[in-house]
């Protein structure tokens, strides 16, 4: 039960990041290898603000802002100019790899390569049903839940969300329909970056200390969760994250914490063997 409790916390963080990635991928059709860096800059932004205030809200806002800015810059400064000149998806993918390395190294220049400590005054642990959670755990999960529900409502109910789905469905049809596709794509990157930045902050707080490779190290877990759920499917991403998060933490207790990520990939391999389209059926694709 303890493992499942931790698993839910990990799942919440993975879900935030994976859903953001999934949404970004389905709308822009670009595989973003720098997704981990969106998380990392969020973590550092939160860490910087934490030097001045222990209040979590400004830290979170800084994390969101940092991720959003990087997401926007990545699209506006790099991906869009290249794709306008007819660069293929592979070229764009390589650009995101380059971005990941550049951001990592810039962070190393700024903060050094060693671990920085980032904590939230843990306080007492709370018993919630069978689970044992810290205040931070609960804040993490509630925030993730609120954001995921808001995303769902945005995608289903708002004009912007419907336009995002239209662009995801068929870019050229969206454009001939008059949807300002470039603006939609730009906003999607900002949204993706903001959510990933926040996830990065929560991840860093959970771990307690981190380096410029925080997000990069987590990238494959995020990809695993996205693929398990079905690539580009937002609801699938939530389910995939839940499975990956719980498997990781439960296995950490029963097997060995250092095999956490190995277990995540084991799940990925099994899912790819038996349901390569992802575990969420096409009907609920979002």
């Amino acid at each position: 039960m303890l493992g499942i409790g931790f698993g839910l916390v990990t799942a919440a963080i993975v879900a935030l990041s994976t859903v953001a990635l999934s949404l970004q991928f389905s709308v822009t059709r670009t595989i973003n290898f720098a997704h981990g860096e969106l998380m990392t800059v969020g973590a550092y932004a939160g860490y910087l603000v934490a030097q001045h205030t222990s209040n979590l809200v400004p830290q979170a806002l800084a994390a969101v802002a940092a991720g959003a800015v990087l997401g926007w810059v990545l699209n506006w400064g790099l991906l869009r100019p290249f794709s306008r000149r007819g660069a293929s998806k592979i070229v764009l993918f390589v650009l995101t790899i380059a971005t990941a390395l550049i951001v990592q190294n810039l962070l190393q220049v700024g903060f050094g390569g060693s671990f920085v400590d980032y904590h939230y005054s843990v306080g007492l642990a709370h018993h919630v049903g069978p689970f044992l959670w810290t205040t931070l755990n609960i804040v993490t999960m509630v925030t993730a839940a609120v954001i995921l529900i808001s995303l769902h409502l945005m995608i289903r109910r708002t004009r912007f969300g419907k336009a995002q789905r239209a662009v995801a469905d068929d870019l050229m049809l969206a454009r001939t329909t008059g949807i300002a596709a470039e603006r939609i794509i730009s906003f999607t990157w900002v949204l993706d970056g903001g959510i990933a930045g926040l996830a990065g902050m929560f991840l860093a707080l959970q771990v307690g200390s981190f380096t410029p490779t925080l997000g990069f190290g987590y990238l494959l877990v995020i990809f695993a969760a996205a693929i398990v759920g079905g690539i580009g499917k937002m609801y699938g991403a939530m389910v995939g994250s839940l499975i990956i998060g719980i498997v990781m933490e439960v296995s950490a207790i029963y097997i060995n914490p250092s095999y956490k990520e190995t277990m995540a990939f084991l799940v990925l391999v099994v899912v790819l063997l038996f349901r390569p389209q992802g575990i969420v059926p096409a009907l609920s694709e979002g």
């Binding site: 336009a163 789905r165 469905d169 969206a174 001939t176 329909t177």
Partner: protein
């Protein structure tokens, strides 16, 4: 093309394209005063040899203009060029007197040019209602009322408003695509093979809608594989071969042309 006397449009094609019948008599003055969409010597390709070479057509308000021709003649490519989906390497597209050549699709729809592609013409994962809402993306206001209007025009859609478009039949999809294209009350409607792959009964239903649409005012420019059916009701028809203007005239008169029937329609 002589009827346009001296405005320069289509002057190149006039040298090569044969005109059937007397255009001055056949083409009545437009009943509606919307703009005419004209392609003037458009050349369009996908890189390499152009698929469409110096083609000129014009679609007048309140009229059905059909572009026919054998497979690979460049009909759909021409339409894509006029819709901003493909870049034209030379020539001009005019809406009324305004040069709209190579504007983005987002701009063209705002100017009143609505394009309904042949395949993937609906947003498959969006519901029928959401598809219509997206059709009105650029107008925002009054989309509810307009959806009501279009539902009474396309009764089939009314009962499926909450179904995802991917669950619709081919005919329903086409109706939805037409309705989506009409959400903005376009001045010009470009239709790429609206009846391709549909059952004969559905084909008739689509044609009735197309005729009703043109009667309501906009210029309707349709590209069709089904030459006989489209020319029957076309106020003006163009025959394209090998990416060039070949023949033009009032639809029924083109159909009466023995060479054309022998070469492109058969029977």
């Amino acid at each position: 093309m002589s009827r346009e006397g001296g405005d320069g449009i289509g002057s190149t094609s006039a040298m090569s394209a044969r005109v059937v019948g007397n255009p001055a008599l056949a083409v009545a003055e437009p009943v509606v005063d919307g703009p005419t969409l004209s392609a003037d010597c458009l050349t369009i390709g996908y890189g390499g040899t152009p698929v469409v070479r110096e083609v000129s057509v014009r679609a007048r308000p309140g009229q059905l203009t059909a572009i026919v021709g054998p497979n690979g003649a460049g009909k759909s490519t021409l339409l894509k060029g006029m819709a901003g989906v493909l870049r034209c390497s030379s020539g001009r597209t005019l809406l009324g007197d305004d040069d709209v050549t190579n504007l983005t699709p987002e701009r063209l729809i705002r100017l009143g040019i609505s394009y309904v592609p042949q395949v993937s013409n609906v947003f498959a994962s969006l519901t029928v209602r959401e598809n219509l809402e997206m059709g009105a993306y650029i107008v925002r206001a009054n989309s509810k009322q307009r959806i009501e209007e279009l539902c009474s025009m396309f009764p089939d859609l009314k009962s499926s408003l909450h179904r995802p478009a991917r669950t619709l039949s081919g005919g329903q999809r086409m109706m939805l695509a037409l309705a989506r294209g009409l959400m903005v009350q376009p001045k010009v409607l470009l239709l790429d093979e609206p009846t391709a792959g549909l059952a004969p009964m559905v084909v008739e239903a689509v044609w009735e809608h197309v005729l009703a649409i043109k009667a309501s005012g906009p210029a309707v420019l349709v590209v069709e594989q089904n030459t006989r059916r489209s020319l029957r009701d076309a106020d003006w028809g163009y025959v394209l071969t090998n990416g060039r203007n070949n023949l033009e005239g009032p639809g029924p008169e083109l159909l009466a042309d023995k060479d054309l029937v022998r070469l492109y329609i058969g029977g």
